[in-house]
Amino acid sequence: MMKQLFPIRHVLGYIASLVLSAAALAVIYLDLSRAANLVILAVTAIIQASLQLFLFMHIGESADTKKELYLNIAYALFVGLVTIFGTLFIFVWGWYA
């Protein structure tokens, strides 16, 4: 009964998200090398993203919605990557070229 009422997985996932966000702050407050900073950011970001996918977006769910889920993620990746690399293209690589 308690299990039904209290969504333990989601609460743990939420706490984990907060911890990961706090961990990423190390980049600002600890005096680390650039490479170490990037590693911290990449690792926390990847764990964070998979946490969201598995806990809150139900990527492991039944087979009949698989197609929609993956299409959705593909579209999201497309928009995200286009925004990031497009911005870099405009302001860094292509600036006054």
Partner: protein, 647 residues
């Protein structure tokens, strides 16, 4: 407390606006009390979760905003009608063009389209409601109170004045010290959350709630366009959310994201704004394409030509819409390589759009065309939109754009795409679906009067702007000298604006006249139409369909009429419905106060209302409400009343 910051100094016009707002509010309160309508308003409208009523409220709000934005437009056209006009001062003019843009795009076009999709999409796919009826109410109230928050800026504290695109550094606290752009960041944020929830809601509704047999490739084109639109909403609006949040931090908490010092980057705002802003254009225009597709096929008595290519071109447009944003700032300083890339992607969008235009033309070919009011708007759309599209390709050429950039040529171009593309479409859809919602048609003669006023005046108002732009008149200039020679054409444009106003007044008069005098439609299908929404009664009963339809083909209702295949095969059974709730409305009210206190940096009340938002959200999450059932007897009685003996 310092009351000075709430005041707006703008002379007679502002005080007039204040008085009229106060009087209108008073009139509404007195009216509701005298006619004892408070309970009715609360029970039937403010707490409703019925997709049709929410849709009607969206459309009502959109019509109101159309008039607010239209009055802004008239004031601008009057101010520029002749050289050296003294009607508005520079600051007031800046506020007027900023709110005109914001209101017309975000609080007129968007809610009008969302309203139509609310009313029609569940009916077109044979569903009883949207997937999340309560969330739908939350969406509406967040939109509504966001819009109200922006509207009160006019009389309390001052409106945003840095253009609807609010470019930094102009929109920063340094160069726009009034609270105007605080309103911008908070009002848009609140209504933007509502829009995003709508996106989720409709994707789920269309993917999961279709009637048996309604495969994706059998869906009416309007539903297809709404599906794709909502996919764009879900992926584009988060960018706006982030950009607005960063803007709010810059303006309220002294962060430096978009400033020119301390590592900030002002151009990043323009970049993020248009990463959202260009898909936004397609968010308002794709549903319009869907509306036109349904109307053309109904009034040509033919199925839509090239159904599959219509769907494919919309999917391609949705992807390309994310690849073109830099064409809004060709002159910002990026290199030739970047501009060439975005030129090519921009021109590429003309290809799928052209496919759609030809599909419509082929649908018309050899059709039995009836010239009803919605059809007239649709037919007018094709050539006018094509002018807008062709001038768009001219603007897409980066090197030529250095000449056109921020001139009236651009203003003319986007009015030539947005007005036929979005406004004519929603008016056409409004006339087309009106009998479904209210049970009677709008008068055709008045409708056509309004149509001719609007179409002719539109061209009179906006065509001169192309020429003015080529003569060198820039946008957003509040006055000019007689020597520039801009005077006569601006006067013509003002005359066109007046004509447009007359057209819209006739349109509204038509609603009033038709409500009183038009005969009631008892068939539920006054246009002899093709899609499922016409298979149920008008006005639509709360449960939409007494029996869920079984779909065997595209244009399901048409096929069932032609070949006598019954749509409704099952017996009438009791129907499960969601119950009304006041929480979404309350959430909207609290959000409104939260936004207001944030705008004026009143932290304590802001925190209190922020906590209030969290409490309301919790209350909504833990609300155990399993809805209710409409018993069989009641359904049969309703059906008999609406449809006579045919049940």
């Amino acid at each position: 407390m310092d009351l000075e910051k709430f005041k707006v100094h703008g002379g007679v016009l502002i005080y007039g606006a204040m008085v009229s707002i106060a009087l209108a509010t008073l009139a509404i309160i007195i009216g509701l009390t005298v006619f004892k309508k408070w309970g009715y308003l609360w029970r039937e409208w403010l707490t409703t979760v019925d997709h049709k009523r929410i849709g009607v409220m969206y459309i009502l709000a959109a019509l109101l905003m159309l008039f607010r934005g239209g009055i802004d437009a008239l004031m601008m056209r009057l101010q520029t009608a002749a050289p050296e006009m003294k009607f508005l001062d520079a600051q007031h003019y800046n506020e007027v063009f900023t709110t005109h843009g914001l209101i017309m795009i975000l609080f007129m076009a968007m809610p009008f389209i969302i309203g139509l999709m609310n009313v029609i999409v569940p009916l077109q796919i044979g569903a009883r409601d949207v997937a999340f009826p309560r969330l739908n109410a939350v969406s509406f109230w967040l939109f509504f109170f966001g819009a109200m928050l922006l509207n009160i800026s006019f009389v309390i504290g001052g409106s945003p004045d840095a253009g609807w695109s609010a470019y930094f550094p102009l929109a920063s606290i340094e160069f726009s010290p009034t609270v105007g752009n605080n309103y911008y960041s908070l009002a848009l944020q609140i209504s933007g959350i509502g829009t995003m929830l709508t996106g989720v809601n409709f994707i789920v509704t269309i993917l999961k709630m279709r009637a048996p047999g309604m495969k994706l490739m059998r869906m009416p084109m309007f539903t297809w366009s709404v599906l794709i639109t909502n996919v764009i909403i879900v992926f584009a609006f988060p960018v706006l959310t982030i950009a607005l949040a960063l803007m709010m931090f810059d303006r309220l908490f002294g962060s430096q994201f978009f400033t020119m010092a301390n590592g900030g980057m002002d151009m990043l705002w323009a970049n993020l704004f248009w990463v959202w802003g260009h898909p936004e254009v397609y968010i308002v225009i794709l549903p319009a394409f869907g509306i036109y597709s349904d109307i053309i096929s109904t009034f040509s008595k033919k199925n839509l030509y090239g159904y599959t290519s219509m769907v494919a071109s919309m999917v391609i447009i949705s992807l390309l819409s994310f690849l073109v944003w830099a064409h809004h700032f060709y002159t910002m300083g990026q290199g030739v390589m970047v501009n060439s890339f975005f030129s090519i992607t921009t021109m590429a969008i003309a290809v799928p759009t052209g496919v759609k235009i030809f599909n419509w033309l082929f649908t018309l070919r050899k059709g039995r065309i009836t010239f009803t009011t919605p059809m007239l708007y649709t037919l007018a759309f094709i050539p006018i939109f094509t002018i807008g599209g062709v001038t768009g390709v001219m603007l897409a050429m980066a090197s030529a754009d250095y000449q056109y950039h921020n001139t009236m040529f651009l203003v003319a171009h986007f009015h030539y795409v947005l007005i036929p593309g979005a406004v004519f479409a929603v008016i056409a859809g409004f006339h087309y679906w009106f009998p479904k919602v209210f049970g009677f048609r709008l008068n055709e003669r008045l409708g056509k009067h309004a149509f001719w006023w609007i179409i002719i005046s539109f061209n009179v108002a906006f065509f001169p702007l192309f020429i003015l732009g080529l003569m060198g008149m820039t946008r957003r200039m509040y006055t000019y000298s007689a020597e520039t020679g801009f005077g006569p054409l601006n006067m013509v444009s003002f005359a066109g604006a007046l004509g447009l106003a007359i057209g819209f007044v006739i349109l509204v008069y038509n609603i009033y006249w038709s409500t009183r005098y038009m005969p009631r439609d008892t068939t539920g299908d006054p246009w002899d139409a093709r899609t499922l929404e016409w298979a149920t009664n008008s006005p639509i009963p709360a449960y939409n369909f007494a029996v869920v339809p079984t779909v065997t083909d595209r244009d399901a209702f048409w096929v069932s009429k032609q070949e006598n295949i019954p749509l409704f095969k099952d017996q009438i059974k009791k129907i499960h419905m969601p119950s009304n709730t006041g929480k979404p409305f309350i959430l909207g009210v609290i959000f409104f106060f939260f936004g207001f206190f944030m705008v004026f940096s009143m932290w304590v009340p802001a925190i209190v209302s922020g906590v209030g938002i969290l409490i309301t959200l919790c209350a909504m999450s833990f609300d155990r409400d399993h809805g209710f059932y409409i018993p069989e007897k009641e359904i049969i009685a309703t059906e008999k009343k609406l449809r006579g003996e045919t049940v």
